[in-house]
């Protein structure tokens, strides 16, 4: 086999249904063409690529996500493969045992797919709609805040704090999400606000 022809180019070409003519043009015999036609197409054929960052530690290795379907065209995109980004100055394409298995965390059996409610004393979660869940949360916040908001302390100083509700923020969300979270939480007067930095 011609080693100048990369594995990817070879398989991409054969997978594109042009096996006969193209392989013929490259000088392959009919037998080789038959073998090539039986080879499973390279799994990254016709995928779209997105540059992303590993979600685990703060080395922040560059990764490339390969998907079937293109989000930029408004399509549904199904992630089929994730690998290290060779252009990235820190990891230069490498990944550790966690990063190498990133696709399987995206596709984990324990991913959450719908809002759920566990009622008081119940032994199970039940599905609820987004609207029902969000309305219930807003109502609970409003009621608790109105009942427990501290406008002034015993010295009459304005303190405008709310201590009976707390918020733990994520450590793998984007800065942009974090800033939106900051605004919403801080505007309520919550002081029990924290993140993973302490642990």
């Amino acid at each position: 086999m011609n080693m100048e022809l990369s594995r990817r180019t070879f398989l991409k070409t054969s997978g594109a249904g042009l096996a006969g003519t193209t392989l013929g043009a490259f000088g392959f015999s009919e037998a080789e063409a038959a073998v090539a036609a039986a080879v499973k197409p390279f799994h990254l054929v016709n995928t779209t690529e997105a540059r992303n960052t590993c979600t685990y530690c703060s080395v922040a290795c560059g990764i490339i996500i390969y998907s079937k379907g293109d989000l930029r065209k408004g399509e549904t995109a199904d992630i089929v493969h994730i690998e290290g980004d060779a252009d990235h100055p820190t990891n230069r394409g490498t990944l550790c045992p966690k990063g190498a298995a990133l696709r399987d965390i995206v596709k984990s059996q324990t991913r959450l797919t719908q809002p759920m409610l566990r009622k008081a004393g119940s032994d199970k979660f039940e599905a609820v709609s987004w609207d029902a869940a969000l309305d219930k949360i807003a109502r609970a916040m409003k009621d608790d805040r109105d009942a427990n908001f501290i406008a002034t302390n015993s010295d009459g100083v304005t303190v405008n704090r709310w201590l009976t509700t707390g918020f733990l923020a994520a450590s793998a969300t984007t800065n942009e999400t974090a800033f939106a979270t900051y605004k919403v939480v801080r505007s309520t007067g919550i002081l029990a606000f924290d993140n993973q930095a302490r642990v």
């Binding site: 959450l112 949360i137 509700t165 918020f167 942009e176 974090a178 605004k183 309520t188």
Partner: protein
């Protein structure tokens, strides 16, 4: 990190102490390998275990967990005693010459002003002597017995190699070998880097562990230079960003502070934030605090933040305690004082100490809201899993709402890495099922709450109804909109005060950096240190030019680093007083006679003359601090304190238990084992495995195959003593809880001789729980004590006392 991952290749000596980079940060560790292969750099590992970093080290020294300060003060003592000091650097760039005022002192483990009842200091005496000119008094000759250098010399003198061996268990010859290798880096042409992580932070004196090494690095002249620095490896992909953005009880983005109730109005708040320089000509950059604060408030509250209402000062809550950190809030929860709690991508039932106490707290909530891409133990704390989570659901009245969120692969935006690079990423896949982004969820909650307040009125609706929320789709702000807002923009035209025809800033434009921020309401900016990330030139965080002029490892055109795209903090200190690099082969910046130029963005005003303006521009001193005034609760110098649970009393201060100012809640004292308690004779510690990430990857089939099952690690000596077989079941318990696991009997852990007493170590990896693809197990926090660092309340996960016995394994209900 003061430096960056890619800069580690520039070092001569790597010290990994308080971390295990080869195991926990493998791709970053490759830069250590680069330095070893290409520069002949050496690697030292100091750790209780002969871990994966140690296995590729040039030198390994064992240390008992929780004794790092004794080791570090011992190194400083060695360097001072043996003249291993970068003198020019120390005299000019640290506060060694500053004279401390009369009254300050240290004796028997305590500084002046200790109040045993309050477990706190009156820190009034911890400051410099101020001269008649209003500046701090300095003694360039270092002769004054009260100058910082002489106080330091005196403070560390007791930490001899013999004392280090007694406290740390590190054999004297091994300590001296490390000290000798470290001391070599005091020449201006040799540098050392410190790589540390939770092994240093998760102690009741974690902050002082890190200070100890920072002081050593200053004495060696290794801060601000290529291949040097203090490099926190950091655990989660955006934990740096979340901290930068102030998602903490007491912070405002960019390390500004939430007011306390002693600061009743804005004038009082600003009165302690003048940051007047303590020496002539110094920048003392925090003098711009007001500009950053006002711009933040304009970003928060838009037109509702006005000069008349002090930029909405009263819209901010005021603290009555230092912080409502996670330990405090879970203590309040256990005492029935919390009704509603949100966990956004966070699994506190596994992540905070003393699982039993946490579960008790969660069961007293009215409503728990969990936003997560994955199932978590916290969301299911009410579910019976037999011995792994024994509860009766019918007894638990807490309602739980679990909301499905997107993960990294389905979301757009920036993350901050350990080296402060803000890197933009793009989504690659569609969310599963009905999962939504966290931004969408937060927006929906805000809009609903605002609507309720508009309709019904209620307690102080002002900050909620006036929150600046001018996104194109208020229900779903985009990452770009939020990034632009953090960067900041001009709200009104600004004209040159000298030439009013000249427009300096134009309304509607993005700021080019924080230098343009103003305190008169004409600029907005959500996070001043991020300013410059999204300018009129576009999204600087999305830049992907990986060129590296001079092969310096700086990559200035790759993404954006805060502050001001600077890759090595304090880089002015890489040059001598005339502005020439200490090591020309490792040039970073230099003074060309008119301005600073080089491979990095200078960390000083571009035309600030060398010799006049000090390199530590944020500090009013203009120098770094070997002695930290009243800025840390537990003392201006680090002191060796034992962990709260310890096999031995404190050799240097037998009467002091733990860190004398660490906060302990009333109920928790009785949950600590006594010092030297024979019921809990073994020193426990927790750590991570390379195949797993916290409590996430047990949800991942591949990682669960690689490390399917919980284990604990003990020495051959302890196994023999207790009759424990390799691979056999053991029960491990502390005064707070127990776990069952397989035993890995290993040569990697050795018993240590601590002041004549043989101390065995039990290692507990943290990654197991009752949810996921791996076999069920017990989180390490069933064992760990509910106490945090005295300054920042990071829990003491690394040092506690346990017992161990052979077992038949957990009883499955």
């Amino acid at each position: 990190m003061t430096n960056a991952w890619t800069d580690i290749k520039n070092t001569d000596l790597v010290v990994i102490m308080g971390g295990n980079a080869a195991e926990a940060h493998p791709c970053g560790f490759k830069w250590v390998t680069e330095a070893k292969a290409n520069r002949g750099a050496k690697l030292i590992v100091v750790d209780p275990r002969y871990n994966r970093s140690a296995s590729v080290a040039d030198y390994y020294a064992p240390i008992r967990q929780g004794s790092d300060i004794a080791f570090l003060m011992g190194l400083i003592n060695h360097c001072i005693s043996n003249d291993k000091v970068q003198w020019e650097y120390v005299k000019a760039f640290t506060n060694a010459t500053f004279v401390v005022k009369e009254g300050y002192g240290y004796q028997d483990g305590l500084f002046t002003g200790y109040d045993e009842e309050k477990r706190d200091y009156n820190r009034d005496t911890w400051d410099y002597e101020i001269g008649p000119d209003g500046y701090a008094v300095v003694d360039e000759t270092l002769q004054n017995p009260r100058c910082v250098w002489n106080l330091l010399k005196q403070h560390v003198a007791i930490y001899t190699p013999e004392l280090v061996e007694r406290i740390c268990g590190t054999p004297k010859d091994k300590f001296l070998k490390v000290a000798e290798m470290v001391g070599e880096c005091s020449t201006p042409t040799k540098t050392m880097t410190s790589m540390y992580a939770l092994g240093w932070t998760q102690h009741s004196k974690g902050s002082q562990n890190i200070r100890g090494m920072a002081m050593l690095q200053l004495i060696l002249g290794n801060i601000g230079v290529r291949g040097g620095g203090m490099n926190a490896l950091r655990g989660h992909s955006n934990i740096q960003g979340l901290t930068d953005l102030g998602l903490m009880s007491n912070l405002i983005p960019g390390y500004l502070n939430i007011p306390t109730e002693k600061e009743a109005d804005f004038t009082t708040y600003m009165s302690t934030r003048a940051y007047k320089p303590l020496r002539p000509n110094q920048m003392s950059y925090w003098q711009n605090y007001r500009k950053f604060f006002v711009s933040f408030m304009k970003s928060m509250f838009g037109p509702a933040a006005t000069a008349e209402n002090d930029w909405g000062y009263q819209y901010l809550p005021k603290l009555d305690v230092a912080s409502y950190d996670v330990l405090r809030i879970f203590d309040m929860m256990k005492n029935g004082k919390v009704n509603l709690y949100f966990c956004q991508g966070f699994n506190p039932l596994q992540a905070f100490p003393n699982k039993a106490k946490l579960a008790e707290g969660l069961a007293k909530l009215k409503l728990l809201v969990v936003m997560d891409p994955l199932q978590t133990e916290t969301a299911r704390f009410w579910e019976d899993h037999g011995t792994f989570n024994k509860v009766n659901p019918a007894d638990i009245q807490t309602e739980v709402i679990q909301l499905p969120t997107t993960c990294f692969a389905e979301d757009e935006g920036s993350l901050v890495n350990s080296g402060r690079w803000l890197q933009w990423h793009w989504p690659g896949g569609s969310p599963p099922g009905e999962a939504k982004t966290d931004t969408w969820i937060m927006a929906q909650i805000h809009l609903r709450l605002k609507e309720l307040y508009k309709k019904e009125g209620g307690a102080f609706p002002d900050p909620i109804v006036n929150l600046n929320w001018t996104y194109k789709d208020p229900g779903d702000p985009t990452a770009e909109e939020l990034a632009r807002e953090m960067n900041g923009s001009v709200l009104a035209d600004v004209y040159d005060p000298v030439d009013p025809t000249k427009k300096v800033l134009e309304a509607g434009k993005q700021l080019s950096g924080f230098g343009q921020m103003r305190d008169d309401g004409t600029t907005a900016g959500g996070c001043w240190i991020f300013s410059g990330c999204f300018t009129e030139a576009g999204n600087m965080m999305a830049r992907r030019d990986n060129s590296d002029p001079g092969d310096a490892g700086m990559f200035l055109k790759w993404s954006f680093a805060w502050p001001a795209n600077r890759r090595i903090l304090y880089n002015r200190a890489s040059c001598d007083l005339e502005g020439k690099p200490w090591d020309p082969s490792r040039k970073l910046i230099e003074w060309d006679g008119a301005k600073w130029t080089g491979y990095d963005v200078p960390d000083i005003a571009p035309t600030a003359k060398p010799g006049e303006v000090g390199p530590f521009i944020m500090n009013p001193e203009g120098t770094s601090r070997l002695w930290v005034r009243k800025m840390m609760r537990d003392g201006p110098f680090p002191v060796h304190y034992e962990p709260f649970e310890s096999p031995v009393a404190n050799v240097i201060a037998p009467k002091v238990r733990g860190n004398p100012v660490a906060r302990v809640f009333a109920d928790d004292w009785k949950s600590f084992a006594d010092i030297g308690d024979p019921a809990f004779p073994y020193a426990g510690t927790t750590y991570r495995l390379t195949e797993h990430f916290h409590y996430w990857t047990k949800n991942n089939h591949v990682n669960s195959v690689l490390q399917p099952e919980q284990f604990v690690e003990i020495s051959e000596e302890l196994a023999k003593e207790k009759g424990i077989a390799l691979g056999g079941w053991v029960r491990v318990w502390s005064k707070r809880g127990e776990l069952y696991a397989k035993a890995v009997v290993t040569k990697r852990i050795k018993p240590m001789n601590i002041d004549g007493k043989l101390v065995h170590i039990v290692g507990v990896p943290i990654h197991w729980g009752f949810v996921g693809a791996a076999r069920k197990g017990f989180p390490a926090n069933t064992l760990t004590p509910f106490v945090g660092d005295a300054n920042i309340e990071t829990p003491e996960f690394k040092a506690f006392m346990v017992n161990i016995e052979p077992s038949t394994g957990p009883v499955v209900a």
